[in-house]
Amino acid sequence: MNVPPGLRISHRFLRVWRRNVQVYRKTWRVSFLPPLLEPLLYILAFGYGLSTLVGDVAWRGEAVPYVAFIAPALLCIAMMYNAFFETTYGSFVRMYYQKTFDAMLATPLFLEDIIAGEIVWGATKAVIATAIMQVILTLFGLIRYPEGLLILPLSFIAGFAFASIGMVFTAVVKHIDLFNLPIFLFVTPMFLFGGTFFPLETLPAWAQVVAWCLPLTHLVELARAVGFGRLEPALLWHLLYLVVFSVLFFPLALVKMRTRLIK
């Protein structure tokens, strides 16, 4: 196969991934806390606080308790945040302040191995956070099994997509503060309007169209169907969206990073 050199990745990306695992293991006690506590806080605030006002939510013609409605969305938000923040702030610090990538480039690693390792690590963090949260949500009886087991592979696919686009931003921002921009314009709107805390149908038609352009909306749709055990062939379209998203942004991250770092 004739892959251009700037897109060639070797198995060595796993060494970069392992370096990040090793650093994560040093602080795992602290790193475990947010995904453990966050769902508890959300369920407390939104679920029990807000649901007394909201009551049940209509989802696919069914009345669903509000806590059950938001539970899969909380998982999706964790996937997005963990992957996106890892390859934006995390990778930027390693690249710009710690010069870790420069040091790696003086070894048999090529830039593509490094960036692929970082993105796969971002996806891995999404999986870890999802797994921890899922345990908590399962204890509350909010995930249905065995379908719920699909959430973990889904978190890797979603994490890979969000980590890829995060890395594209890392390749182009001049300064770390500028990450505020994609967060304000891209991540937060998805967090609020991606079918997370209220059904999309309550939005005006044009806003629904916008929402369907964004990855989190598709991810939430998938996770909610999986969490409620309502698998159907139409879900494959949403999965396809996430795969295509990665197919576009992963190579773009490699190309943009090469432009940025290789002088």
Partner: protein
């Protein structure tokens, strides 16, 4: 001639950044087993050159072979990257890992299995006298210790060629001498070294041969003592605050000299007689006789104006 007689062969090597030419078609060869120096003021093109050699920067033109392999091809470049050790200018140690972990993780990039990595890492920590600090976090190390650890890290793959980009910049004299001793130890073991520096003392002490670069070109190439002899002579008489009489004397005798205004350097080979003459008749504000150094050559060739 076998290809491996030279560890680096650069032929008309060029590096441009947009309209700026950092390396302007230089050619040189570094032999196996020697310490080869690249000297030059800031912005001379040293780091650009060395970055092409260790595969960080692509070439803009010319050809470059390292350890006999063409580094412009990705496959052969990867082979080269396995066999070189690089000490970059920044102390880019991994601050999130301990001293020992820094070496072990780096070893993994070279495909070393964990037991072998641990063994080499400990041996190297002994070599740089850091074995008692193996669990120390990087931010707690002094600049000199960090530098030594960067050197150890560059040796983790037992490289055939060690590349050092300004290894002692920013170090105090003690740390610098510590590092020099270790580099001399490595040289004695026959490892090939490529070194950039703007410390002439460092170059004179470590390098078998060197080039002096400026504005992306090579000004001279040779052994340090030959360069000194050819460009600065044996000795130098330095006269502070020289008067017109001295200037006339120097002109009449046709002596090789540099007039810096407040100071005159006279290059000479017959030291004692000339020095006696100068110091007796023309010395108003101190004059000294000293051996010519590489620094004299360097300043003579690259000028005395400030850079950057």
């Amino acid at each position: 001639m076998t290809p491996m007689e030279y560890v680096v062969e650069a032929e008309n090597l060029q590096k441009t950044f947009g309209a700026f030419t950092a390396v302007d078609g230089i050619s040189f060869r570094a032999r196996r087993g020697e310490c080869f120096g690249i000297l030059g003021p800031n912005g001379a093109g040293k780091t650009s050159t060395i970055r092409m050699i260790y595969g960080f920067s692509p070439l803009s033109g010319g050809s470059l072979h390292v350890l006999g392999e063409d580094v412009t091809r990705r496959r052969t470049l990867r082979k080269v990257k396995y066999r070189i050790g690089v000490c970059q200018q920044d102390n880019n140690l991994d601050p999130e890992l301990s001293v020992l972990q820094n070496l072990e993780v780096f070893a993994s990039y070279f495909d070393l299995a964990a037991p072998q990595a641990a063994e080499r890492a400990l041996a190297l920590l002994q070599f740089i006298a850091l074995e008692n600090r193996k669990d120390t976090p990087i931010p707690e190390l002094s600049g000199g210790l960090m530098r030594r650890l960067v050197l150890a890290r560059a040796l983790i793959n037992e490289p055939d060629l060690l590349i050092l980009d300004e290894p002692t910049t920013g170090l105090d004299p003690q740390s610098r001498h510590q590092l020099w001793e270790r580099l001399e130890g490595l040289r004695a073991r026959g490892i090939s070294i490529l070194l950039t520096t703007h410390y002439m003392e460092e170059a004179a002490r470590l390098c078998d041969r060197l080039i002096i670069m400026d504005h992306g070109r090579i000004l001279v190439e040779g052994r340090p003592q030959d360069l000194i002899r050819d460009h600065a002579g044996k000795d130098i008489i330095e006269v502070g605050d020289p008067g017109e009489e001295l200037r006339a004397f120097v002109r009449d005798r046709g002596l090789r000299h540099d007039d810096l205004g407040h100071r005159i350097l006279i290059y000479c080979d017959e030291r004692d007689q000339l020095y006696r003459e100068v110091s007796e008749h023309y010395c108003r504000d101190g004059c000294i006789l000293r051996t010519a150094t590489l620094e004299d050559v360097f300043l003579k060739l690259t000028g005395r104006e400030l850079r950057e």
